[in-house]
Amino acid sequence: MCLAYPGKIVRIEGDTGEVDFGGFTKMVNLMLMPAAKLGDMVLVHAGFAIGATTEQDAEETRDVLRRIDSAFVPEEPR
């Protein structure tokens, strides 16, 4: 029904904001969240911030990778 992914607002320019999704940023429209401010965690769907979420939300979706990170972080090659 609706894929949305969490990111942190790192810059605001009028009603668009630069959002960091973990390793890259994308310009996102903030018209649906007039009260959004710098540093807020937001859920982004179809290029729009649709709602606030928590730091924990980003952790949880990216945490999935922590389990993977440990799986493939190579030891120093001998």
Partner: protein, 334 residues
Amino acid sequence: MLDSRLIRLIDGEGGRATSRLVREVFLERFKSPSLNALCDSAIRAVRGGELAFTTDGFVVDPLFFTGGNIGKLAICGTVNDLSAMAAKPIMISAAFIIEEGFEIERLERIVEGMAEAAPEAGVEISAGDTKVVPRGKADGIFITTSGIGEVVGFARRPELIRDGDALVISGDIARHAGAVVAVREALRAEPPIESDCAPLWNMVESALEAAPQIHAMRDPTRGGLGGILCELAEQSEKRFVVEESAIPISPQIHNLCELFGYDPLFMACEGRMLFALPAESAPALLEALRSSQYGRMAAIIGRVEAGSGVVMNTRFGGKRLIVEPEGAPLPRIC
């Protein structure tokens, strides 16, 4: 029978629509045993050993991306197809179809990309051709290549894969597709999202020395890691069991795929190799791969069993069957 008389984009995206087109239009008419094997290169016995021969076409959009361009891609793709059969690349040809009005400066950057990658793999670009078509008849530039290589030891083939073999991937997946999406969607990233595009012969050569019993190799491209897992399982008539949590993927690419609704398993790579070899030689292979600049994140991702298809043990403890999609992933909202 092809259900529509027109070539559609999906017929070129490396999914089943493409293999159907290849089967029904080309293979049935050519009736050539080498082509029917559908491997990365054709093998022809010659005096004093076997030669490998392959060909490929490059129409990537965008032409330039972080980590390479269509020229570098053309050389790496051909080198990697030869390396996948344990063949040392010796000669490559490249033919260009260029649209009227294409900037020379961009053509020079493309050719430089090729000129850098070829010597690194110790191969010579020994044949070429250029054609120009009226404006609007081509999308900038198309490159087709062919390559000849000398097989080292014996030609590795899917038929050699045995139950109990380990499956090893040489690095993190979906990096090329990520770099292309980054350009198309104007993403900003530090460090930049870079394609994994690389000529793999040197890495494969050291892998063959460290683990001479490698049964089969295949370089994932358009269809991603999932595509070649399905291909190899089918051609070796075995069941591949892979562990989702063991498949290396960078956080940057994982987050990009989640945002746009892509499945990273089927996103393109351009500098990765999958190996199937006896399990006991896997540690030696890993060590050799990790000491190459293109194999830092090499990992054992699964094993081979009797049966058919590709099964993934999910991070969450479930199981799912991996099936090739109809065509390339599209940005989704749902």
